[in-house]
């Protein structure tokens, strides 16, 4: 039998309530020792009922709480599970946790409740992975997407396609197994129709996955421009708006800082080239050469220009580097007299969006944020529809499924026998099954082991 684990399940910091969660065979024993219900005893309450009472340490009240007892196996972990809803803030919640840890209960590892839920068969693979994504989600949006997958949203979609394929198989097979029966064979065209319908679904999911990746990992963004155009001010303004700096870690390259900021639910990983040391060399000053490296890595480039200066050679050079990137051109310092030739700029940057700001006067920042969101969602903001796949393994499987369906569709265009077409259809079926864990493969299992640290 697994040992009993405990953890604080709500985020650290101030909050109205906090939840301490405990799972395992000893969870009920422990709660009986530290919890005194308002009136009756613990035994008098029904499964899953919220019980009012107090947590006591040596008869001393630590906190006034609501406790939920959930009996195995119908719980998240499928084990006996206890949730203590206590007052938020770090002091009471910490004291309850410390008290529980004096019993034969240990601190849970990150994701361990989920690991148990998965190992105990409560969650399928894609659901368990989603929980892990949720735990490591960098933004609320990323959390939402992961949550949807936990709810089986992705599994449901994939299962529907697999059902369609099974149905298609049965239609093909009936003709093969009963060649002399009085039934019409399915035609190549009919097979193609079903495949194309489902290919579109898979494509849709793959398209969403690009956005999903951004939602999970952050949109890597570079702010470039000559010195003193207002790069740092723009960054600071964005930071101020977002209020939610998730993390601030030194980048892999010396002198470069990566900041995570959150704009309209989209995490931006800003590679702050402002940190690059200035030198005497004019070109180096702009940081073009060194910034080039970051251009290549960046999903989004924000080019900052000075409204009060004419376009310089360096500006033009930067523009030539970022031709095929997603770029937002920000012309800053609109509070000063205009010297920049906008007509020339428009010709230079072609179809890229040009925005005007006066960062100093907090003017135009919102437009920059909106433009970022627009670019991420390919111009159509789909914030309600969480059709984003964030897991790399899922995306890879979808892409393979797509290839196989496409191969099958191509085969239907020739007069080739059904048994050949079925080879590709089966491949697609199996790849889709890898997402839900219904197709078992070595790589899937490797993934499980890497995600849940099961090795001993």
């Amino acid at each position: 039998m697994e040992d009993t684990i405990v953890a604080i399940s709500t985020p650290h910091g101030e909050g109205a309530i906090g939840i301490v969660r405990m799972s395992g065979s000893k969870a009920f024993d422990v709660i009986e020792k530290i919890f005194k219900p308002g009136s009756k005893t613990v035994d008098d309450y029904e499964n899953r009922q919220l019980i009012y009472g107090h947590i006591l340490d040596n008869n001393q009240v630590i906190d006034e709480v609501l406790v939920a007892l959930m009996k195995a196996p119908k719980t998240y972990t499928t084990e006996d599970l206890v949730e203590i809803n206590c007052h938020g803030g770090s002091v009471p919640i910490r004291r309850i946790l410390d008290l529980i840890l004096t019993f034969d209960v240990r601190m849970a590892e990150p994701g361990e409740f989920t690991k148990r839920a998965f190992l105990n068969g409560r969650l399928d693979l894609s659901q368990a992975e989603s929980v892990m994504d949720m735990i490591s989600a960098k933004t609320p949006k990323g959390f939402d997407v992961a949550y949807n997958q936990l709810e089986g949203y992705l599994s449901k979609k994939v299962k529907k396609i697999r059902e369609d394929i099974v149905d298609l198989f049965s239609k093909i097979e009936v003709g093969i197994d009963y060649p002399e029966a009085d039934i019409e064979d399915i035609t190549h065209e009919e097979i193609k129709e079903v495949l194309e319908y489902n290919l579109e679904k898979v494509n849709h999911m793959i398209e969403g996955s690009e956005t999903g990746k951004i939602i999970r990992n952050g949109l890597s963004t570079v702010i470039v421009g000559k010195p003193n155009v207002g790069k740092s001010s723009l960054l600071n303004a964005l930071l101020k708006e977002s209020k939610a700096i998730v993390t601030s870690i030194p980048g892999t390259t010396r002198d470069v800082i990566e900041e995570y900021i959150n704009i309209n639910g989209i995490p931006l990983k800003i590679i702050d080239t402002a940190g690059i040391r200035e030198t005497d060399n004019e070109i180096e000053k702009i940081g073009v050469k060194r910034s080039k490296v970051f251009f290549n890595k960046a999903d989004l480039v924000i080019l900052v220009l000075n409204n009060a200066e004419e376009l310089s050679v360096e500006d033009r050079e930067i523009i030539s580097y970022i031709e095929d990137k997603k770029v937002i051109v920000v012309v800053n310092k609109t509070d000063l007299e205009n010297k920049l030739d906008f007509d020339a700029l428009e010709v230079l940057v072609k179809d890229k969006t040009i925005l005007r700001t006066s960062v100093m006067n907090e003017h135009g920042i919102e437009a920059v944020e909106n433009e970022i969101a627009k670019l991420v969602y390919h111009g159509e903001v789909k914030s309600k529809e969480n059709d984003f796949i964030t897991n790399v393994r899922h995306i890879a499987a979808l892409k393979k499924a797509k290839e196989s369906i496409q191969a099958a569709i191509n085969a239907t265009d020739s007069a080739i026998g059904y048994d050949f077409i079925e080879v590709d259809i089966k491949d697609a079926y199996d790849y889709l099954g890898e997402i839900t864990g219904e197709t078992l493969g070595e790589d899937v299992i490797d993934k499980i082991f890497s995600k849940f640290c099961l090795g001993k």
């Binding site: 093969i176 080879v423 089966k426 078992l440 299992i445 099961l454």
Partner: protein, 625 residues
Amino acid sequence: MNNNYDVIVVGAGHAGSEAALAAARMGSKTLLLTINLNSVAMMPCSPSIGGTAKGHLVREIDALGGEMGRVIDKTYIQSKMLNTRKGPAVHSLRAQADKNEYHIEMKRVIEETDGLYLKQTEVTDLMIEDGMVKGVKDNLNLTYSAKAVIICTGTYLGGKVFIGKNTFQSGPDGLKAATELSENLKEKGIYLRRFKTGTPARVNMRSLNKDQMLIQKGDETVVPFSFMSDDISKEQVPCWLTYTNNDTHELILNNLHETALFGGQIEGVGPRYCPSIEDKINRFSDKNRHQLFIEPEGNYTNEMYVQGMSTSLPLPLQEAFMQTIKGLENVEIMRPAYAIEYDCINPTKVRDTLEHKKISNLYFAGQTNGTSGYEEAAAQGLMAGANAHLKINGEEAFVLDRSEAYIGVLIDDLITKGTNEPYRMMSSRCEYRLVLRQDNADFRLTERAYKIGLATEERYQRMLDRKKAVDEEIERMKALMLKPDDINGFLENQESSTINSSKSLYDLLKRPELTYEIMSEVDTDRKPLSEDVIFQCENKIKYKGYIVKQLEQIKKFKKLEKRILPETINYTDIDGLRNEAKQKLEEIQPKSLGQASRISGVNPADINVLYIYIEKMKRQGELNE
């Protein structure tokens, strides 16, 4: 009377005949017992051997050294390759036998096999000591001892026939049922259940209006079942096609209460894929006609089999409803249709060698394992016979997996999934059809059978010769380079794109529009080759990409088959397995994770749990005892 044998086979139908022949040919002194010597390899239902998927089984039985293919090649009266328009993997051979000749030919082969003893008696009991079978007893109170016993009792075991509301104990076609054996098997702790099947009426050919029906002829070029047969072409007999109509349906619907089936007197479960005409009309009420084929039962009889019209209506009604059908207006029934209920075991109780899990050296094959069909029975018989011989000689078991043979699929399905109705082999049950074709059964299986002494030297050589012919021709085609000047005119004529530099004949044949036959015009030096070798070569070239893909799928499949679940595993102790899964795993005791994943009631989450469990054990070194 010396009554000591190595192997005893109980029942001489299609399973029993192959079982006894396999064991005897491998060197076991074998006794084959049957209730009636006149019913050896009898075909009590359809006159056909083969058909979709079943044809593959016959080819595999033959490739392994079995007899069914050779006997049908000698005794067929009509032959057809089905599904020829659907790709080589699902081409299926079917032939109709002269039933009587088939029986006589199989009996003759058995009689002439050294070390094989064919005797008439009714087995009534098994001798079992310390969980191991020691022999059988018969109704004359004689005992026959053996190291292994194979039960192939078919519909004889506890057989009960229904015609209308009349029921009586009977085996197939009026033969005696084996009732005492049923009781004694149950007493030995072998759980038996009731299955049901049925057969249509036989009618007199002289009473048919043939000109009112559609004639169905056999193929002009006949492909033999056996890899040992050469040209077997001969004059074939035709079949006849006609349809039911509204009058037929009305008559049957108005008389459903006259059948034992709908009256609820039959407890056995019948096959969904082979429904009675009552069932068909009842379940598919939107269909306004059902087809029926009238097939001759042999060259020397006027009896005709009415395929598709199995029924348990009373005899007068059988004749009445048939007379509503075009061509059958004056039909005269010679043998009535009947339903038969019989005892069989749950096949999850046997291993992949078909040996019972609890009683050592006791094997089950054929309808007794819950299957239906001559071919399914013969395939199991062959495997049980071979494995009984191997076991008593301390040799390694002979098991085929799902990627090696239809036989592998059949047995794996039976022992892993069990069956709730008589199990029929179907193409759709087989995952790797592109590789498991009927035309390459010998390449897949003959060498393995040869190595265990099941296939003869002659058969093995034939396979090697055929393989050599194919390989040599492929090599020749790769080496034969065709120059643009010599061939572009020809290609234009064939509406195939022209070439700029020389290309091999092999590469050109990859084009869908070019066939081996078409290429003869520019490939003038070719040797004459058999149709079959040409077919092999073309398949190899044209479908290489797909076959490679399927081999990849097989590789993935094999990985999970190699994840062995030790017999010592205690499933009830594994946290996280659902109770249903625990129960099923305990019952089936799968050999590998792959097999476990095919058990119904074990879901992917359970398999993940199991996978992680064995992986953890492995990492902890607990498996390396």
